[in-house]
Amino acid sequence: MAQAMRPQMMGARVSRVEDPRLLSGQARYLDDIQVPGMLEIAFVRSPHAAADIIYMDLEAARQYPGVYAVLTYDECPVWLWDKATYEVGQPVLAHGEVQYVGQPVVAIVAEDRYVAEDAAELVRIDYRPRTPVLNMRDALHDQPHRVHAHTPNVFFHQEYQTPGFDEAFRQAPHHLSATFRTNRQTAVTIEPRGTAAMIDPASGRLTVYASTQSPHRMREDISRLLDIPEHLVRVVVPEVGGGFGMKANCYPEDIVVARVAQMLRRPVKWVSDRTESLLSDVHGRDDIHDVEVAFDADGRIIAIRDHLMADGGAYPAYPFSGAVGETSLAARVLTGPYDIPHLATVIDCTYSNKTPLGAYRGVWGPIASFIQEGVVDRVARYLGLDPAEVRRRNLIHDDQFPYRNAAGMIYDRGSYRESFEDALALIGYDEFRRQQAMDRQQGRYRGIGISVFVEPTAMASSEAGSVGYESCTIRIEPSGRVTAALGLGPTGQGHETTMAQLIADELGVNLEDIVILHGDTDSAPYGGGTGGSRSGPIGGGAALVAGRQMRERLIKYAAHLLEAGEEDIELGHGEAWVAGVPERSISIRTIAETAYTNVRRIPEGLPIGLEVTARYLPKRPVSFSNGTHVAEVEVDVRTGIVRVVRYAVVNDCGRLINPTIVEGQIQGGVAQGIGAVLLEALNYDENGQLVTTSLLDYLLPESTDVPQMIIQHRETPSDGEGGIKGMGEGSLIASPAAVANAISDALAPFDAFVDTLPVTPDMVLAMVQRKGA
């Protein structure tokens, strides 16, 4: 019976319990919430990048049949503004001026969205346009002027340098410099953002249905911003159709919707259309890094200097600016998996007249690994060495863990060298190099790109982690069935399955006897939510700790009721029994009946009922996952079209809860990485108009853009609960660098290096022609 003590569900390829409702069209997303009397909102948004509002004529809209209210700042004077951190906040509806195209100015509340949009067209606003601030390098110097007159454009500045940097850098025999750039992107969840709110008629409490990753923080934000006591606000997160960091913020529209429900005492809803999404969902990336590297004749990298810049947009997204995350985290992980002793970084985050910058999956990662891996490949080409060999010479050695990187981050143990060598073997690296030489002679340009990555996960603070811990309440019902509630905010990651797997092992009950609740602040214990690759290691850790506490209680019951020693009790398949004497058994159901209804038989010292709440705060402030991605591309040098033809991943995120779910996360992140390198860019014109406002202009990867991937796992456990490390972002941290390096490798005969993402066909042609001419 010893096998009952071993985890059976953790590590198993369990099919998800979420799937049947999603597959049959029964899942309830935000726009599926329809309540009698529900009104809908349309927003009038700024058509200018920067302008003063001279005059608003709202009369025709107010008089339009079916319109219930028209709100401006005067009716909803609320600011998304963390005054402790930023000099600037955003009014939820524009106040006297607009600072980016798409900024909400007026809210129209009507009987349905069609009517609301009719009325929105009747709103007349006179603007006096100003010259917009659009160029990051100019904005740094307050050129052409300040975005916000009372404060400089640079809103975050930080400098760091390892002791002895200058000397080490100067004395190095070789130096190279390059500028790396990522354009603006956004998450583009297929389900757009949305919010609904209503007053509960019985209690008078405000219920907000929010498409968010962080239910408790949304409750806090609404409570604080609208000055409603927290216990009178309930946030319910319905099914969420993707988040990727973009749904970790509190947005102006969320507050307006809640305010309208309060004002009108009517249920009300707003759902973004796609154009609004591209204009108003937080944007991501938008980095410029001026990088210099110093190295020796063997290709060992001695020092990196980087001026990191990011465009935060017009206002800090609430409650955090993505620009600060992009840069400050990149500065701390810029040396990646390499043992590079010296680092000097200068960070500048600037305002502009663009949409606020927030989180997009892998915040900091794509630019940092693009630089880190781009630097290695530049060093290799400069010295005439193989890029794989230069990586071998710089990778952290196994005996260096725990490793402190040049920025002071502590890496826990990983499989850096093993995963690297495994990935090269998977793709057939040496064979590829032989073939590549022959292909080039025939005018075929194929390239291979390596990306060895580190992924800081389960951080004490991250975009969704308003708190560094997570909580889990487990209740065994009188029937013996299990209800477990967590503060997570899943957006497709399958937490109802993975958390149940962990709890099933601890309690010895069947998976189908467990239901996982999340996303309702009335039932879930206070938690940070989902983001920053924290749900597996921290949420899972909370599930394990709560499960273990409940297990101990079940064992006490079983020992008492079976008249055996606690050390002899085993649990499994909904039963408890005496080790070696399986006929001396009792079902969890009978134990639960005892705990609730036959309370005189409860063992001394135990409370009535079976309910525990546990909170788990990891001991380490961060745990590092690692791995290697290798991409093979073919570049058509006549058309500039790049095709990703093969892709291999070796991933190490500690102990796996569900390998299939991990593979799904990796494949999705790689597809997003391919989009980042080849397709996705939010482009502004010289007037600050966003010109990519449909999915015909902002291109996402399609099924034919993504190759079959080969994925292998390694498991180097963390020393946190369950040995779990996070993994939600690693694939999008690693993949842009792999694909970009593969293109650079393919174009090596043209002396080209990719330095800007995305790489569009015209950019490829320019690289080819520069040399060809």
Binding site: Q34, Y114, G664, L695, E702, V706
Partner: protein, 160 residues
């Protein structure tokens, strides 16, 4: 209500409906908000993402680009219509088995596109499957497990 209404008769999932609509209402909105068939999802209203895919007389169409009045007299099939009364269809089971969905928002459209392909061509090769799915965007899965699920429906059980 500012605009006039007309009565449309259409068949959805084999059931006849008589519904009063505004001529400007999209088929997606009528299916979702008038008939309560919320399995059809709206992702872009620009005809690009494919989340709103339904069948019009058995052929996949974008219900965000059709007005409900254009569907008058036609047979519409939504994800609810390809779901058996009990359990899941073989293709839905394959999606479940292959982890072909994460957030689930694109899934109904994917299913309708893939099911239409398989009815036309019961043994497509991988390139054909990928080509057929190009009109349905998925942001979560990277498509591989979706392609695997569709390929597993071939009589050969997924082997070429």
């Amino acid at each position: 209500m500012a605009d006039e209404r007309s009565v449309v008769e259409l068949t959805v999932n084999g059931r006849p409906y008589r519904v009063e609509v505004s001529p400007r209402w999209s088929l997606a909105d009528v299916l979702r908000h008038r008939l309560g068939l919320t399995g059809t999802h709206v992702g872009c209203e620009q005809g690009v993402c494919g989340a709103c895919t339904v069948w019009l007389d058995g052929e996949p169409v974008r219900s965000c680009l059709l007005f409900a009045v254009q569907a008058a007299g036609h047979e519409i099939t939504t994800v609810e219509g390809i779901t058996p009364a009990e359990g899941l269809s073989p293709l839905q089971e394959a999606f479940h088995r292959h982890h072909a969905l994460q957030c689930g928002y694109c899934t109904p459209g994917m299913l309708l596109t893939a099911e239409a392909l398989l009815r036309r061509n019961p043994a497509p090769d991988e390139a054909t499957v990928r080509e057929a799915l190009t009109g349905n965007l998925c942001r979560c899965t990277g498509y591989q497990f979706i392609v695997d699920a569709v390929l597993s429906m071939r009589p050969s059980g997924g082997e070429d």
